[in-house]
Symmetry: C2
Subunit: 210 residues, 2 copies
């Protein structure tokens, strides 16, 4: 089974990276698809679910770890439902076959299935540039605003990771490969990284049958 | 110009990684060669120089940074000579043309030449296994001893890096790619990583002429 998880800093192009890597390997990629399926199964408003998706998992673990977001019990119940569903769906996807899963603590959730875990990051300048490039018309964030948003989202991702797994988010020890996308076109990086992934899985399976 | 620097944890196979990468790219690789040349130029005993090579650079910067090893002034003068010569030789090598340089703070020393900086690391278990595999007959280190040596050498590397440059050793922000070699055969990883390097340099030179 070839399961690849992509963890990424906001603005590093990690989502594009994951999608292109999946295309190159001819395997499915799950990102918004996960959210869509949860929304469908649970009947929540899709935008609402997308917005809260990572905070949601965070809020779903308060009883085990003794931490919680200050949300009302009604919203918390919704978060719990979403987080539980996400975890289930991530495992279902992985059990179905080869795939790339972006974010949502999949590396920690799937640890027992030995995925290839990749972290995608970039310099602040490069992340600001990417955010500006992909901003839709009418979005007028200042650099200061963007940096604040970036930091907040990455902090949420780190907190989520801390709750679903034992390995720290963003630390190289937690990953098999960390790729700095600063000033690089992601598209043309992919053939080499697909070859890396293919070799990595070959070595894992050779080891298994030794 | 294609200059690649390899920084590595002790026992991660970083030296093999650098040498094989250089072979795949058909460019020279400098490691002990640097030490040899220093030894030749300065007439020091080669084993002595090899043993102190990284500590040497560390000791060469006490006046600028206000830190020093507790060494006698005579030894310190030798260290200073070695460190200065190493820096010069690293820059000479880089100016001569495409190459891979392993360790010795080359990523920091050559920052203005925009090298591709790669960090090679591995899990403790994997590093112990590699150390055992490459130990010569008669070496009977316990795991505890090996771990102590590993830690000490990596600490020296980190201190050296801190002194020659402004970027922290071993933190992903300081590198373009971080490769975890745990339980992997390095040889078969190389084609993908050579392709990554080729693409990285192509993108850099495209940018230059844009």
């Amino acid at each position: 089974m070839r399961i690849i998880t992509i963890s990424r800093e906001f603005g590093s192009g990690g989502r594009e990276f994951g999608k292109r890597l999946a295309d190159a390997l001819h395997i499915p990629c799950y990102d918004h698809e996960i959210i869509d399926m949860i929304a469908e199964q649970h009947g929540f408003d899709k935008n609402y679910v997308a917005h809260f998706s990572e905070k949601a998992i965070l809020a779903a673990y308060p009883l085990t770890i003794g931490r919680r977001l200050s949300v009302s019990s009604a919203i918390n119940q919704q978060h719990f439902d979403i987080a539980g569903a996400q975890r289930k769906i991530i495992r279902q996807f992985a059990l179905q076959g080869d795939c790339v899963i972006i974010g949502r603590g999949a590396d920690a959730i799937l640890r027992d299935m030995c995925p290839l875990n990749i972290f995608v990051y970039a310099s602040l300048a490069s992340k600001l540039h990417r955010c500006r490039e992909r901003a839709t018309a009418g979005e007028t964030y200042t650099d200061k605003n963007l940096l604040r948003i970036m930091k907040k989202i990455d902090q949420e991702r780190a907190s989520l990771h801390e709750l679903v797994g034992n390995t720290p988010w963003g630390k190289r020890e937690s990953y098999h490969l960390c790729v700095n996308t600063s000033d690089l076109e992601i598209k043309s990086l992919i053939p080499a990284l697909a070859a890396f992934a293919e070799n990595w899985f070959t070595q894992q399976s050779d080891k298994q049958y030794r």
